[in-house]
């Protein structure tokens, strides 16, 4: 009879329970979770995410994924993102992108939203933009909130690395997304909110 050492790293597909009590719920080791999503059945002027409960649930970072387009005849659009309903001049923006001629770097100071270009306009049926937006430490009360986004559209073909800061050390409790040109988002536009443990 041999004596063997059994370590966690040698066990495949292990699961974790918080205790040995009957009925104890399995702890899923996944770090990233889909919290909610909105897929527009008809056009809408805005989408809002309530994230007020997420920090208490152990989430540290947020990600928003969008496959969206707006109404109107232009091929281009941008989202305007606001936190906690703040419409003051409390946002900065920067962008690295191609403008169909060259690579460009731009900035925006003391804006009233995060203005992230890269959403599709309504010019082409079926053409939606793609966006992956990351917000780290969304609930920190020691930091302003920085967002980083890889976004692009094929229609006025552009790819963007966007960034912006909400100049507030308040924890983010809500995220409001509208079109930066005050149009509505088209039916079929999809907005998904994910949260990561950290």
């Amino acid at each position: 009879m041999g004596v063997y050492s059994l370590t966690k790293s040698s066990i495949k597909n292990w699961v974790k329970y918080p205790n040995m009590m009957a009925g104890s719920a399995y702890i899923d080791p996944a770090s990233d979770w889909l919290i909610t999503e909105t897929i527009l059945g008809s056009s809408a002027a805005s989408v809002t995410f309530d994230v007020s409960a997420l920090a208490a649930q152990g989430y540290k970072h947020l990600q928003i994924r969008m496959a969206a387009k707006t109404l109107g005849t232009d091929p281009y659009a941008q989202v305007a993102i606001r936190f906690n309903g703040d419409s003051g001049t409390n946002y900065s923006n920067h962008s690295l992108y191609g403008n169909e001629t060259s690579v460009v770097s731009s900035n925006g100071i003391s804006g009233t939203s995060l203005y992230f270009d890269g959403v599709a306009g309504g010019a082409t049926s079926g053409a939606y933009g793609a966006a992956v937006v990351d917000i780290l430490d969304f609930a920190s009360t020691a930091k302003n909130k920085t967002a980083r986004a890889l976004m692009g559209r094929i229609n006025q073909n552009r790819i963007f690395l966007n960034s912006g800061a909400w100049l507030s050390t308040s924890a983010i409790t809500s995220i409001g997304i509208t079109d930066g040109y005050s149009l509505s988002f088209a039916a079929g536009s999809r907005f998904s909110l994910y949260a990561s443990k950290g």
């Binding site: 920067h94 900035n107 020691a142 302003n144 920085t146």
Partner: protein, 177 residues
């Protein structure tokens, strides 16, 4: 086993930290993703600070190419260990940069090619945005990661870095050949 798991998070405490370190990284994942929300204590003569990476205590055999914008113009550079640029000094107070680093096959025996998206942020025209292609020319498995300021200053309090591991797998339905 989940497709993506949190390995650990480092939070810089009062007084700051000269480095952010991940040690004894488990070798059981497929890929690593590191996200950093950071700022350094580089003084007011500058508006930011480059972050450098080291693997397994080694600063050798790194190379990169980056595309960068500074809020006004775009340019491309060749470098070594930079993984982005964080706010510091005169950059808007309380503003931290955001970096995401992906290292496929970190535990394998091939050279380590990695990808970085980095943004700085500042309520001013100057703001640094980077996409970076990096390479560590080493066949060693990555067992530790160290982040430091290029200018030797500290990461300030409240800087955080989270390290995640992706697990490859199969759903039994999707095919690959």
């Amino acid at each position: 086993m989940a497709a993506k798991e949190l390995i650990t998070t480092v939070t810089v405490g009062a007084g700051g930290a000269a480095s952010i370190d991940f040690t004894s990284i488990p070798q059981t994942y497929t890929d690593l993703v590191l996200v950093l929300s950071g700022r350094t204590s580089r003084p007011s003569t500058a508006f930011g600070d480059t972050v450098n990476i080291a693997f397994n205590g080694s600063t050798a055999s790194f190379s990169n190419r980056l595309l960068e914008g500074n809020g006004s113009s775009a340019y491309s550079e060749i470098g070594t260990r930079a993984i982005g640029y964080l706010p510091a000094g005169v950059a808007t107070a309380n503003t931290f940069g955001s970096i995401s680093l992906t290292i496929p096959n970190y535990a394998g025996s091939a050279n380590k090619s990695y990808s970085v998206d980095s943004v700085h942020e500042n309520n001013a025209s100057s703001g640094i945005s980077d996409i970076i292609a990096g390479l560590w020319s080493s066949s060693a498995a990555i067992t530790s990661i160290s982040l430091t300021s290029n200018t030797g200053y500290n990461f300030v309090q409240h800087s955080t870095a989270s390290l995640y591991g992706f697990n490859k797998g199969s759903d039994g339905v999707t095919t690959v050949a």
